[in-house]
Symmetry: C2
Subunit: 168 residues, 2 copies
């Protein structure tokens, strides 16, 4: 089966799926080597280039985990619509006040009652390297998006052709 | 917040959640160190002790991955019901004919048209070491279940007290 979507269309679809599903499961590698996941909300926000941001306690266990193993996965599932997303990337803690203010939403008060005055508040940024999505409307062909950035220049690398794999 | 459920009640709840959601995201470690996930169906089956079995192509890429890195995570999400499950364990390929016959269901023909006569058919077994679930009905306290087995004896180890963490 051919994958007829171009890179921009795939990123657009990826953003729509993540916005709709909103809560992903962030998988990290624990200090004992086991893989753990927990629900995290994107607050329906996703960067233009696919990067994800999650508000977090800066001293939480998952932050300790990503400081030791940067590689993470965030998966988004909607079994009712048969839509699934896998985002592979590298996570880092960001404490920049401007970014916190830019992304803050009032509904986050449920988790951070003092808002941006919470002493431990931070952001977990997932820099996306690769994403795949499966959508019932496309017969479970996986659409793969490579977003590897050239670290040295900050420019987006030429990502070459996209792969297709089948859902099984 | 206290976690008032005992181990058996937690396993019962875990099995119900996995049966209902059915399709999980299996996260593996790729050869380049990145974490990838893809949807996998449990066919609503889960072993008494929490182990998970997935029908698979024995020569698929994810099988190659788990043969190099046994540690995996399977997450189950139902954002509509606000139910989330994380299963941490070790995966292995199983080709035992009796087990294949025991777990086979006719609806699997969608993926394996020749049924158990498919030359490449196999099972991916995830031996569960730890599971956590979050359920809207319990205010997003994570219920943690330790299922570490004593490898040398095959007996279930004394798992000690359960941890509680909050959803954030």
């Amino acid at each position: 089966m051919t994958d007829s979507l171009d890179q921009n269309e795939k990123i657009k679809k990826l953003r729509e799926l993540i916005k709709d599903i909103d809560i992903g499961m962030l998988t990290t590698i624990d200090e004992d080597g086991s893989l753990r996941s927990r629900p995290m909300s994107t607050n329906s926000q996703i960067e233009f280039d696919g990067d994800l941001w999650f508000f977090t306690d800066a001293s939480s266990h998952k932050v300790t985990e990503v400081e030791q193993h940067h590689r993470v996965n965030v998966s988004f599932s909607d079994p009712h619509k048969q839509q699934y997303v896998s985002v592979s990337g590298q996570a880092q803690l960001v404490l920049d006040r401007n970014k916190l203010q830019e992304l803050w939403k009032p509904e986050l008060k449920a988790w951070f009652p003092k808002g941006l005055d919470e002493p431990d508040i931070g952001l977990l940024k997932v820099s996306v390297e690769k994403a795949e999505y499966w959508d019932a409307s496309s017969s479970f062909v996986a659409h793969t998006i490579s977003l590897l950035k050239a670290i040295t220049t900050g420019e987006r690398a030429n990502t070459g052709k996209n792969e297709k794999v089948t859902f099984k």
